[in-house]
Amino acid sequence: MAERRGVGRAEPAMLEVCNLHASVGGNTILRGVDLTVKAGEVHAIMGPNGSGKSTLAHVLAGRPGYEVTGGHVLYKGRDLLVLAPEERAREGVFLAFQYPVEIPGVSNVYFLKAALNSIRKHRGEPELDAMDFLSLVKDKAKLVDIEESLVKRPVNEGFSGGEKKRNEIFQMAILDPALAILDETDSGLDIDALRVVAGGVNQLRSPERAMVLVTHYQRLLDYIVPDFVHVLLDGRIVRSGGKELAEELEARGYEWLQPAPAPGR
């Protein structure tokens, strides 16, 4: 690991979160998160329910209603938090949603083509025409074994839980982000679906891309092996380590990491 950190020094990290505080609806959720993610790395953020994992993912994506009250976030060395959500996406930040929303009337393929072309336009690349786009779709659909009929249907409408999650990874493959944040991608998946989704994610690992996996269970990490594991508790990262930390959590739970109760109580 030490060598890897050394290599990264010449370039700014993909993501640098410093002392990040955030609240939702007046409730403080993040209380000083520090996290550095470099290109090529896969980080897992684990923690019990309510610890702030999903909040962190949404704050990074710029979800309305999530207020940053302190700290800063650099993405490729630039302030991420000043960007509108769609600007973050065009700059290469991708969030795979825990609960992907249904968009009736808008076909998946039409939606994705518009999304990809807005990103390409932002990068100064020519827009893809229908033919090129469809061949890209065919290519990437194999990655997560997504059926062509799903690609043509309205976005997520009537999809099963597993299909929705697969669709998220499929979208990620098409949009080719630099930083992918996967929010509880394993939730609601049976073991076969989990294997397919994880397989897709693994194929998308690359030295240019960083990934942050937000997960409650260690199970996902059997399939997508992270470089680093962090434990988020009560809005702070209380422990970081390698993949063996996840195994320890599996065995011991989160209880042992709780801060000691105040004396007298």
Binding site: E86, G105, S118
Partner: protein
């Protein structure tokens, strides 16, 4: 910093791109309504005695009627004596060649995207341009005449084809029909007339472009389309008006007649000035549209995209009299800011094996109120009739409303009826999903709305489907923060 919540209810200023006024000298009669005014309009148009009599009967009947109050719309009292019932740009009378039309008028239509030069953008569409109370130009007349098709202003039809007008005028919407149709019958000033002879398929789209320009003026036009046996015509109307603080009344009547196996496809893209974001000004669009499938196997299809007007009150309907006749109604109605719409259709099944389809899409934003009101009646003799109705509502924000009033009357037990309805809302989570994929909130709304309206848009003639999509985008501009 934080990103502000997407404020779906915060409505930014909407841009109404047709809101300019043409500075042109016009000839108007004083405001007010009386028998003398009715006579004056008739005289100005050198009408035959029978038509004046018809107008006067309508006027006298109107005096006995009360303004309807059942619609789900609210507005202050209309002062019918404050309205100017006739206003026309000063120019040479009578049928005009395009070279004689005032350049200012040509420029107006050019600005509205409806060039009246036959070689221009709308090369495949014949246009009748109605400016305030009169028709100022009709394109492609010669080409249509070759096919035996009559397409001209209503006034001209009265002069040149009195027997046709007399035969069909009021045959679908009688002068006693309803308050606004009766008022129209008394004071209508112009409109379009279209006659497709037996077996002729009209070689191009026909269209009328209505423009209200003068202040305090009402527009009362009348359109009559007759398709003889086996004839086919596709007809489109467009409407705009300048931005004015006062409300203006538009009470039109459209009558369609389809004989045996004839087909009439009637499309409307209505973009009257809707009023400002506080609800000031705008057109009161109180319109009676009805088609009669008189012949066997005839078909009348209404498609409407209603984005404008402060208040819309209209129910394009089909009387399915001929056996095996078909009626269709496809509608998108949008209300933003303080717009109100009470719109829908009536499908009256009289003949055997008659079929009707209703697809209504209502979109409400801001404080807009959108009502679908529809009647499907299956008469006693209408064996094996079928109706399919689908009414969907889409809400943007939480201050707008969607209402559905379906009326179903079935007098024949062999009828098959289907009714589906849904209401959905563009949620902040949906908008964020688009944004997270690199699309703006405006893109999100446009794509969702266009997806919602797809079934209706695909019924529009190609040239206008694109226009309608753009118009919808403009109408809902700023309806997400």
């Amino acid at each position: 910093m934080s990103t502000d919540p997407i404020n779906v209810q915060a409505l930014a200023e909407r841009e109404y791109r047709a809101g300019f006024v043409t500075d042109i000298e016009s000839e108007a009669i004083p405001a007010g309504l009386s028998e003398d005014v009715v006579r004056l309009i008739s005289t100005k148009k050198s009408e035959p005695e029978w038509l004046l009599d018809w107008r006067l009967k309508a006027y006298r009947h109107w005096l006995t009627m009360k303004e309807p109050e059942w619609a789900n719309v609210r507005y202050g009292p209309i002062d019918y004596q404050a309205i100017v019932y006739y206003s026309a740009p000063k120019q040479n009378k009578g049928p005009k060649s395009l070279d004689e039309v005032d350049p200012k008028l040509l420029e107006t239509y050019e600005k509205l995207g409806v060039p009246l030069h036959e070689r221009a953008k709308l090369a495949g569409v014949a246009v009748d341009a109605v400016f305030d109370s009169v028709s100022v130009a009709t394109t492609f007349r010669a080409k249509l005449e070759e096919a035996g098709i009559v397409f001209c202003s209503f006034s001209e039809a009265v002069q040149k084809h009195p027997e046709l007008v007399r035969k069909w005028l009021g045959s679908v919407v009688p002068y006693t029909d309803n308050y606004f149709a009766t008022l129209n019958s008394a004071v209508f000033s112009d409109g379009s007339f279209c006659y497709i002879p037996r077996g002729v398929r009209c070689p191009m789209e026909l269209s009328t472009y209505f423009r209200i320009n003068a202040a305090n003026t009402g527009q009362f036009e009348r359109t009559l389309i007759v398709a003889e046996e086996g004839a086919y015509v596709s007809y489109l109307e467009g409407c705009t008006a300048p931005i004015r603080d006062e409300n203006q009344l538009h009470a039109a009547v459209v009558e369609l007649v389809a004989l045996d196996r004839a087909q009439i496809k009637y499309s409307t893209v209505q973009n009257w000035y809707p009023g400002d974001k506080e609800g000031k000004g705008g057109i009161y669009n109180f319109v009676t549209k009805r088609g009669k499938c008189q012949g066997r196997g005839s078909k009348i299809s209404w498609t409407q995209v209603e984005t404008g007007s402060a208040i819309t009150w209209k129910y394009p309907s089909c009387i399915l009299q001929g056996d095996d006749s078909v009626g269709e109604f496809y509608s998108v109605a949008v209300t933003n800011n303080y717009q109100q719409a009470d719109t829908g259709t009536k499908m009256i099944h009289l003949g055997k094996n008659t079929k009707s389809t209703i697809v209504s899409k209502g979109i409400s934003a801001g404080h807009g109120q959108n009502t679908y009101r529809g009647l499907v009646r299956i008469g006693k003799a209408a064996e094996n009739s079928r109706n399919y109705s689908q009414c969907d509502s889409l809400l943007l924000g939480d201050k707008c409303g969607a209402h559905t009033f379906p009326y179903i009357e079935v007098l024949n037990s062999t009828a098959q009826m289907e009714h589906e309805a849904s209401t959905s809302k563009i949620g902040e989570d949906q908008v964020f999903y688009f944004q997270q994929r690199g699309l703006s909130a405006e893109d999100a709304v446009n794509m969702i709305v266009n997806g919602f309206c797809k079934e209706v848009f695909q019924e529009l003639p190609m040239e206008f489907a694109v226009e309608a999509q753009k118009l919808l985008g403009v109408t809902l501009e700023g309806s997400v923060g």
